[in-house]
Subunit: 344 residues, 4 copies
Amino acid sequence: MIKAAVLGATGYAGAELMRILSQHKDVEIVYPASHSYAGSKFSDIYPGMKGVLDMVLREDDIEKAAEEADVIFLSLPAGLASSLVTDKILSSAVVIDLGADFRLHDKAVYEAWYRTEHHSPSLLQEAVYGLAEIHRDEIRGKRLIANPGCYTTCSIMTLYPLVKNGLIEKDGIIIDAKSGTSGSGRGEKLGSLFCEVNESIKAYGVTTHRHTPEIEQELSLAAGESIVLQFTPHLVPMNRGILADCYAHLVSGVTEKDVEEAYSVYKDEPFVRIVSNPPETRYVKGTNCIDISWRLDKRTGNIVAMGAIDNLVKGAAGQAVQNMNIVFGLEETEGLSLGAGCPF
Amino acid sequence: MIKAAVLGATGYAGAELMRILSQHKDVEIVYPASHSYAGSKFSDIYPGMKGVLDMVLREDDIEKAAEEADVIFLSLPAGLASSLVTDKILSSAVVIDLGADFRLHDKAVYEAWYRTEHHSPSLLQEAVYGLAEIHRDEIRGKRLIANPGCYTTCSIMTLYPLVKNGLIEKDGIIIDAKSGTSGSGRGEKLGSLFCEVNESIKAYGVTTHRHTPEIEQELSLAAGESIVLQFTPHLVPMNRGILADCYAHLVSGVTEKDVEEAYSVYKDEPFVRIVSNPPETRYVKGTNCIDISWRLDKRTGNIVAMGAIDNLVKGAAGQAVQNMNIVFGLEETEGLSLGAGCPF
Amino acid sequence: MIKAAVLGATGYAGAELMRILSQHKDVEIVYPASHSYAGSKFSDIYPGMKGVLDMVLREDDIEKAAEEADVIFLSLPAGLASSLVTDKILSSAVVIDLGADFRLHDKAVYEAWYRTEHHSPSLLQEAVYGLAEIHRDEIRGKRLIANPGCYTTCSIMTLYPLVKNGLIEKDGIIIDAKSGTSGSGRGEKLGSLFCEVNESIKAYGVTTHRHTPEIEQELSLAAGESIVLQFTPHLVPMNRGILADCYAHLVSGVTEKDVEEAYSVYKDEPFVRIVSNPPETRYVKGTNCIDISWRLDKRTGNIVAMGAIDNLVKGAAGQAVQNMNIVFGLEETEGLSLGAGCPF
Amino acid sequence: MIKAAVLGATGYAGAELMRILSQHKDVEIVYPASHSYAGSKFSDIYPGMKGVLDMVLREDDIEKAAEEADVIFLSLPAGLASSLVTDKILSSAVVIDLGADFRLHDKAVYEAWYRTEHHSPSLLQEAVYGLAEIHRDEIRGKRLIANPGCYTTCSIMTLYPLVKNGLIEKDGIIIDAKSGTSGSGRGEKLGSLFCEVNESIKAYGVTTHRHTPEIEQELSLAAGESIVLQFTPHLVPMNRGILADCYAHLVSGVTEKDVEEAYSVYKDEPFVRIVSNPPETRYVKGTNCIDISWRLDKRTGNIVAMGAIDNLVKGAAGQAVQNMNIVFGLEETEGLSLGAGCPF
């Protein structure tokens, strides 16, 4: 059994991780922790898990976690992880960080977008960007995994085959993404109240959202040249799900067949489903899958590529478990759901 | 492996059953059927199951199903099952009927409330009412299981300990129940449209809902005398979940302790959780659990007992699998979820 | 023009009041106030009113308000109004309190249920319970109007004709009420977050909700004897609306015709609609109407009477304006909506 | 009083029109009609209007309507209006068509996108595209008004100032639009069921939606050259509202100030609000307003311009009444709401 610690276990992503780990046959949660609720039972905070996860929450103490666990999952506010993870911690446990601190390779880019200092820049080289479908081989031997963001997972995976194969113009990529409200977290903010979110849709973080440089980093790596793009997230009145509509101008002469072949890079991926209809977030709800579809438009010369994920699963907790499975040499799908019930 | 047939696999309850069976380690679905979609892949109708359940749907032919399967699940419109099930069918397969045809022991009561003829009254004695927490021993040896209704499961289980132990007055019981919209089914009805359901709540079937005699039958059996009660269902703008608020006048002298002891009848039940706060449907979503709580009111002399289930799981497909597990001697919880993620 | 002050203008009820007053042809808002947002434009807090209500919010200062206004609406936390209203204030302005401080005639009952001291018990006799359909004549000459609560308005109006005419047993009345989430207010509470409310239903305040004594007071007055009843509120995932299902045992011999005649007390009421189908909250959304329907059940001897209102309109701001219209001798429907668009 | 006929009064747009007209002080509805519900009271179909619109619905007979009414509103399926409207009809009544039949000036474009024959091409020249903020002067003298579509109103008004003033590149415009479910109409379709729409988001009509040529027509007119653009609509789990995110590359050298000046074309428009935060559909719900905001992105050289309307009001019924007001020389805002309550 792999012994797991979860720091930040009572946020939405952390709690989803707890739930998934509780179903994983090779994992034992030995150190569940929450700064806000230390001393409470997990199931008192999440009564849906009563009888399943009644363990008492401990403090977010990474050193104690490292003593007891083989793998430490961090689901903490931005900037905190980079001050907690050290070489010593990594020498005794694998760290999978669900936050943003180790995702950007360039400290300056991190500090510019997150407006906070990075506390362990030396570890940036050690970290791997944990998007398995692209970096699986690099993930295998690593001790520090930067689990990708929700919008970014969906956007990168949708655009990667097109960029990698040079099928679209590098300039002018536009990503219009929509997210369920769990993406805003469990904080008691006015903008997250039911009556402020329900029956409405809005964009936010227009031109400034922090997931932008993360998408650009990965697509630039795939392209072999710098990509600058437009990313606009939206808040949708639903619990879960991200839909990313990706617009790009096709390189002259690119055909439907070229596009199909590009996406065949995913043909053996257990969590990628190429679908014919535009993807709907409900069809990936609760799963670790991404559904991808596209349309070529002869009138405009564009491709509209669309991807859908569950922001708390493939966009956070599920992907973290997928990464753990890879690092520890387990079946990559172990503990992760592949099929979504409907309606759910 | 138990070979399973599902007739009516593309209604909401049938599809949920397909999903649960696909996760059951001892079951193989050998005969998935749908009158409306015979010839299509299941995952074309439910794209959330792409890659998991891509099998082609067949016709709703119970005789062919009986040839191939050990257990036949029926999820069909009222009145149809009673014309399909025969002794011959039962001699070759166990039948678990998710519909209402075999739930009422009294043919006359069935015909009065359902306003249709019952086509196989002789089988009514053979059928067992498949509420395991009450009739587990009777279920074990049976070939024909009448899987309880959604409202009825929730209502009966919430009131049973009180009635069985004579803690409440037999007259004056009131059940005010609330259901998510999946309970209305997948039919293309005006009243089921998003814009007709969303942002509203209403009662329906007031004084006439067909689940009433089913609740009365089971509580009367528990009481050892006839119980007539008030049942009012409501439509709630959410996908899943039933909450049943049950009001009754306490027999004079009954204490909090008496009530606690009565509910301790469930103490070893894997799917019953006695909770301190009023139950919320989200905490049982996707699980086969019922959450029960109650309050005694000294001012009025009443007890308010509240139960919450997932109407498609414990109220339909999950309970059907629970019954199958019992009949075939498997672990009762096999394939069934005990913990609910939140938000989901 | 009537000059109006609104203290607590940025809570949901206060803001709805601002909106309604802005449409009222005989009213000018001269003193909009908010403790939290003093100094901001109203339309900065409620951008939906940009161009309509751009006035700057002032402090919640009742003395200044009384200097400038003919009528002061209070939409404040429980316990605050009773410490602000004085004879002096009432000598210069009419006060319509949307809170609970002046609703209960008995100081002891108030203090027992609200667990706070009442600061101006001498005014309790001066206040009138502002439910126009029952107390219209008393309201006319009054300076201090206690605007009824949302659940209470709906419950009392639904049951009043039955109680007044002695058609139901006084013992055993049960009210199972359901409310949209705006009833929980605009406070930044965990339980009001979208992801905590959406896709679920729950009861709360079971046996202890503060609207109970208010309902009992008014029905006892109507009955001429003390009534103690069971009241259970629920939280529904929708913005607005209250549905109250009221259960009572019919007095022996009472007929459908008796009930119809009892409800004919409302036949000239502009805001009461007797409807044949069970009422749906969407049909009163945005209006000051209550829709009432009922069913007699021969099997149980009960009546199920159902009422639906918009909690922010007839349950708060609309009723307050209705009361103002009465006190100032205007057309009672002035400024108030009678028809609900659907879907809205 | 203007005498109005409404053909197709029971669809969502038709019913909203009925509601708005019922509040219009200069209008009397003399001929409400519905093919499906002729003979029923309007308030039996829309109980929210009980007491307000209890008139009996008549057949969709345009000739009778023309005899009795000064203005005929058509809210009919695509292709029907073009076979009903004739010179004779127009000689006795003004026709405002909420459908698509007279919006496109080019018969061939209509027939290509709508895949149906146009039955009265001679009237295409007579019709005016009824977007008042752009074509007000042309609307004044007209007898046949083609009321714009919902997506198109929102998209055109958001982009018009940029295109008109040559601030954006004509190539590469992308519109990613999101609509509430009332836009799908009241038809009993599987895809419109609550359980199929709720808790999900999807694109549809990708590269093929019929509102595309309408947007292109109007923006091409504004630009003085042909514009071909990408338009993608989405279905959002909410009743009402459209958000259109419009992406375009700024012409070199264009500044924030240039953009502000371009949008000042709307400065005297009663229904246009330039807002600083990204617009939210809830803030225009029930109103005839459009909220517009934008961001310039120095990194990409793009502008992201966002517009929000209520699809049933400014996107359909409200705009139709605005057009009627113009044609009949009334105050343009008469009968139309300018402020949105929240939460609603």
